[in-house]
């Protein structure tokens, strides 16, 4: 069918089908709510902003409401005009439902309402009603002194009904009950209760009674009423309830007129449990307007058509359901009435509180049983202690070994103490290790059980005790964040401030005259940090005295506490010198500290574990050591990382912000398209791996040129293959996209412009031709050799060298957009076949120093699946079919071009121009791409192609020249 139709030729525009138009029109009308009124009312559909249907009166089946969904009328919406109530008060009417009903509706209503005829009106309801109506009519016809409708109560029923008469005849009187026998104990009790209630809430109970009565069962009511006639007359006689006005509203004003649910609430509030058995307590959830979720935020519902979801819940709610508890309280049978009626009735409630027939229980069964929380023993620690890897913990209970006098040899003493400290901190493994290592060493005999073994054992015990204490004290600290003070650090590191006087002298002296490994002694005698600092650098090596002072300074610094005034320098120093030295020291210490922190990235504890031959036990000291580092790292981690990307504001946004569009005049971005193509054709491998710079380049489109220039220059020095790898994948899809889809309608104009620009340059540059030819030729030749390129065979001998060069140049840059894979592969062949052609296209040799995008374009082509190839091949074929005239034309132009670039290639005088031209190139590059693509697509437009190909290669040559020049300069 379709194919048939395609074969036909149609003239004119087809007439659209009537129904199609009509239905569409209707739809359109229905869509635009403004036109809604033009539709008949049964066709109107009210929709909200989302286009969902809105119902009016959703619960009655709901259609459009009002006058075509407005509050107006046929005559328009006219508000009730204001009239002074001073003059015509009587005219102010109370509105009732009849005012809003049509005649037919009224008739309907009238017909439907049932009423007993006056004849059988036992209690005179109908009669009363009639009389009332009569009175009302009369009132209206002749206004009385009392303005407004006469209160219903004043108008009494004038007649007695048949039933009444009968009853009266039988001896019944007003105020007597019909059924005395029925007054059972239940009713009695109830009556009593009611009476009692009335007694203490007489002020407000009455109106409520009158309103709540009808809710009771009708039949029961009827029968029951007379029985209660002593306290409460039956309904047959209107009762005038004196309703004291307690609120501050105007007379007759009903604040709950439009919100009856609040009346209910109020009533519940004021008279809590009067008839709790019968009346259901107000619960918002039963209500029509109630919320469908417990967690619904208070005060608001949602539309009938909207669904309640998570976001409607009250996120700010405390999670407790107060409402629930309140209701339960209200249902609690005993003393709710008193409780809920706050303060005022409380006193009276206390007096009469007990309902007649009840008495207060002396002891209630209901007792709240309380379970006290278990008593926490005083020494309980709310933390689980692991039977840790530390032996020190388990050995804590060991009895302390005997105190042994230290050995006389201070060095040995220091060594023993040091080893003990380390062992205490690192665990038994260290002891074993050092024992093993130092078996032959006399000095370490104490480990095996030599002379001073006892002393060592004692020291070890002391150390363990100490480290344990520090740990405990740390644990005892409330703050979870370990705050490091100099003191606590010292403690963690095992510095012993008490023994300072003993240790410090040795620390400086000991290394000098001890034969065993000095480093080890150093670590033992000094605090680790300190020693490390010294290991890291001795900033004042050349001045030993100063160095000593510096160490002293460091010690003071890390020990914390007060610094003695003279600690800064020797006494012979002047005040200013001392101050200067102090500053020096501070700076040096800071530098060292920084270096240490950097080193600390392999935490202290790790070094310890390495020390203990890969033992898995982290010592307490080690672990604690890590903590501050971790916190430091934490703060470091949050250091914000800054990245920059390309972002393209829309032109209109720029306009609205009163800014100049940074991308003005640049072609629109195609990031989305690119990504699509990426997923279609390419594996985005190196794209992701590339750094931010490349990200930037990939994001932007035409504006990549400056950056790509940088890359070019960089790439030239680099080796060829690397260049290829690096540049791969950047930006190619854009080209491809354009190649396939873009129109080349603007090509012609641009080409002509470019050509005119080109021409004057050519003339000027021709002057330098001979000079530059040589230089450029040399360079390009060498490059050509490197690339293994072939020299095309048919060159006029005069310009051979130049052409050679130029061709290589062409080969280099080869932004050549058409560079089809086929050609690159079979480049030689094609060149031989059609040298003219290849030249025209600027050569198919592999690119070397081109802008990345261009080159990538080439490479992409290589990666492109076969269909791409075919496209290009077809274009090739077209080109092959060039007629001789055009090729002739081209050749001549090419010749001039050749001249032009060879002449221009490298001279100082042309440098500036050349930059400007490179600038122009930036602009041109995008154009080129488009052109390229257009050519591929519209292969039939040969002429244009022919025209612009030289222009393109000129651009290229210029650029390339620039690069080669840069190289030369290098």
């Amino acid at each position: 069918m379709d194919s048939d139709e395609e074969d036909f030729v149609f003239y004119g525009t087809p007439v659209e089908r009537e129904e199609g138009i009509a239905s569409r029109k209707k739809k359109a009308i229905a869509e635009s709510s403004g036109n809604l009124r033009s539709l008949p009312s049964w066709k109107q559909e009210v929709r909200d902003e989302e286009g969902r249907r809105r119902f009016h009166g959703a619960f009655t089946g709901g259609f459009s409401a009002g006058y075509y969904n407005t509050a107006g009328s046929k005559e328009g919406w006219t508000p009730q005009s204001f009239t002074s109530s001073r003059k015509n008060r009587a005219e102010v009417k109370q509105q009732n439902i009849l005012n809003f009903l049509d005649e037919d509706e009224k008739a309907e209503l009238e017909g439907r309402s049932l009423a007993a005829s006056s004849q059988f009106d036992t209690f005179g309801f109908t009669a009363a009603e009639l009389a009332r109506k009569q009175a009302e009519k009369e009132q209206q016809s002749r206004p009385s002194a009392i303005p407004g409708p006469v209160p219903d109560e004043i108008v009494l029923p004038a007649t007695d009904s048949v039933g009444m008469n009968l009853l009266k005849k039988m001896g019944w009187r007003y105020g007597h009950s019909l059924k005395d026998s029925h007054s059972s104990s239940l009713y009695e009790a109830r009556r009593e209760a009611r009476k009692a209630f009335l007694a203490f809430t007489s002020d407000e109970a009455k109106p409520e009674l009158s309103t709540s009565e009808p809710t009771e069962d009708g039949l029961e009511n009827l029968l029951e009423q007379p029985s209660e006639s002593e306290t409460k007359p039956s309904k047959s006689t209107p009762v005038y309830v004196l309703d004291p006005k307690q609120d501050l509203h105007g007379l007759g004003y009903d604040p709950y007129k439009d919100a009856p649910e609040f009346r209910e609430k109020k009533r519940q509030h004021t008279s809590g449990g009067r008839e709790h058995g019968q009346r259901r307590p107000f619960s918002s959830r039963d209500n029509l307007f109630g919320f469908k979720s417990k967690n619904m935020a208070p005060g608001f519902g949602i539309g009938a058509l909207e669904e309640l979801d998570a976001e409607d819940e009250d996120v700010y709610g405390s999670g407790y359901d107060f409402e629930e508890t309140l209701i339960e309280e209200a249902e609690e049978p005993s003393k709710v009435g008193i409780e809920v009626q706050d303060s005022r009735p409380r006193l009276t409630g206390k007096e009469h509180g007990i309902l007649p027939g009840f008495r207060l229980a002396s002891n209630s069964d209901y007792q709240l049983e309380r379970f006290d929380p278990p008593v926490i023993p005083k020494d309980f620690e709310p933390r689980h202690k692991f039977p840790g890897p530390l032996e020190s913990n388990s050995r804590l209970s060991d009895p302390p070994p005997l105190e042994v006098p230290p050995p006389e040899d201070s060095n040995l003493k220091v060594l023993i103490e040091g080893v003990a400290t380390l062992v205490a901190r690192c665990g038994k493994l260290f002891e074993d290790l050092s024992r093993e290592k130092n078996q032959s060493n006399q000095l370490y005999s104490f480990l095996i059980g030599g002379n001073f073994h006892d002393y060592y054992v004692r020291k070890l015990w002391e150390e363990r005790q100490k480290s344990n204490q520090t740990k405990l004290s740390l644990e005892g600290k409330e703050s979870s964040v370990p705050r490091m003070t100099a003191e606590s650090r010292g403690r963690i590191l095992g510095e012993r401030p008490l023994e300072r006087s003993m240790v410090t002298p040795t620390s400086t002296d000991a290394p000098a005259d001890v034969k065993f490994p000095t480093n080890l002694v150093d670590t033992f005698t000094k605090s680790e940090v300190f020693s490390e600092l010294l290991e890291v650098s001795k900033p004042f090596k050349d001045n030993p005295a100063k160095q000593e002072r510096f160490e002293q300074f460091l010690k003071e610094k890390y020990r914390g506490g007060l610094r003695s005034t003279d600690s800064g320098g020797a006494s012979y120093m002047s005040e200013s010198a001392r101050a200067r030295e102090r500053l020096d020291f501070e700076a040096a210490a800071e530098a060292i500290e920084k270096a240490r922190l950097a080193k600390e990235s392999t935490p202290f504890s790790q070094r310890f574990t390495e020390f203990s031959a890969g033992g898995m036990q982290f010592t307490s000291a080690g672990v604690e050591e890590v903590k501050p580092i971790q916190t430091e790292e934490l703060t470091k981690k949050i250091v914000p990382k800054r990245e920059e990307f390309q972002w393209r504001p829309s032109p209109i946004l720029c306009k609205r912000f009163d800014l100049i569009d940074p991308y003005m005049g640049k072609p629109p971005p195609a990031p989305r398209i690119r990504s699509k193509l990426d997923s279609l054709f390419f594996v985005p491998d190196s794209f992701k791996a590339s750094g931010t710079e490349e990200k930037v380049t990939s994001r932007r489109d035409a504006s990549t040129v400056p950056q790509s220039d940088n890359q070019e220059s960089k790439n030239v020095v680099e080796e060829e293959p690397e260049v290829h790898v690096e540049i791969e994948n950047v930006e190619r899809p854009v080209d491809l996209y354009k190649a396939i889809f873009y129109d080349d309608s603007e090509d012609e104009g641009e080409i002509s412009v470019a050509n005119t620009l080109e021409n004057p340059e050519k003339k000027v540059e021709a002057a330098n031709a001979t000079l530059n030819r040589l230089i450029a030729g040399d360079f390009l030749e060498s490059l050509g050799k490197e690339l293994g390129l072939e020299v095309p065979p048919e060159l006029p001998p005069a310009t051979k060298q130049a052409k050679n060069a130029s061709q290589k140049e062409v080969g280099h840059d080869n932004k050549n957009n058409f560079s089809d894979p086929k050609l690159t592969q079979e480049g030689v062949l094609l060149e031989i076949k059609e040298p003219v052609h290849t030249l025209a296209r600027g050569g198919e040799k592999p690119a070397s120093n081109d802008s990345p995008e261009k080159r990538s374009g080439d490479l992409n082509m290589n990666l492109v699946p076969p269909n791409e190839n075919t496209v290009r091949n077809s274009s090739n074929r077209h080109e092959e079919k060039l007629d001789s005239s055009s090729s002739e034309d081209e050749r001549s132009r090419r010749g001039s071009r050749r001249h032009h670039y060879s002449s221009e290639s490298d001279s100082d005088s042309s440098r500036e121009r050349h930059y400007s031209s490179s600038k122009r190139r930036k602009r041109g590059s995008s154009r080129e791409r488009e052109k390229r693509s257009s050519r591929r697509k519209h292969s039939k437009r040969r002429k244009h192609r022919d025209k612009d190909s030289p222009e393109r290669s000129q651009y290229r040559s210029e650029r390339e020249r620039g690069e080669s020049k840069r190289d030369n300069r290098r």
Binding site: E49, Y316, I638, P640, W647
Partner: protein, 299 residues
Amino acid sequence: MSASDLPRKEANVLKGHEGAVLAARFNGDGNYCLSCGKDRTIRLWNPHRGIQIKTYKSHGREVRDVHCTSDNSKLVSCGGDRQIFYWDVSTGRVIRKFRGHDSEVNAVKFNEYSSVVVSAGYDQSLRAWDCRSHSTEPIQIIDAFSDSVMSVCLTKTEIIGGSVDGTVRTFDIRIGREISDDLGQPVNCISLSNDGNCILAGCLDSTIRLLDRSTGELLQEYKGHTCKSFKMDCCLTNTDAHVTGGSEDGFIYFWDLVDASVISSFRVHTSVVTSVSYHPKDNCMITASVDGTIRVWKT
């Protein structure tokens, strides 16, 4: 400004919202303030006299943010109904509704000329809307974020957005660049310093961070308050001397800008303090809370 000048005395309580107040903002000259909340209304107040001037109702769900033009003639508001409402202040009518966000809209701001509205949505995007044309399509969609955008700030030339993905991104229209500062913590609220050189970013790890805009350097961190699960505001005082922000326990905190010490903290509300706004000139501040009140604080 010394610490004693901090607005610590309650001058007025603005009651009227039913349910939580989600945002309260001074207008450009500080004479009025706007609030919006869960009750789907926007209210205009005179905080100094403590009276409500107008109520704007049209939103279908809660209103999350509101902003006023510099000439006080127009309002823009956004909320849970995924729409941005462009109001006329005096008549209270909606001039335009901008639809397009795929999800709730968290924040909204006018630009300097009140010609563009930029909104930040849960749909991970910033959208710019044109107030001048009749088009209701966004003129720019920025979807660089990878999570809900919580807050947006505008300068003369930049759009700054803070997102739950932990980044504060600055989009410079003039040079067409996006600068992303990754804080690593969900950003709840961003506000500019009055000199425009710093960004204050309230993060969901109960920390407010001060960033240098030019370098992206973290200048200071302010801690002490609780901010873990609610969208809460923070801002700088009018002199840039202090940082202030609410806390989930109903307290408000004042920090010294430079040394990040808590200068003052006191209870202002019974519940989460959702919003704080500082008077542009005077020592006056408004706080809004889930408890439904807005309180005006003066020295």
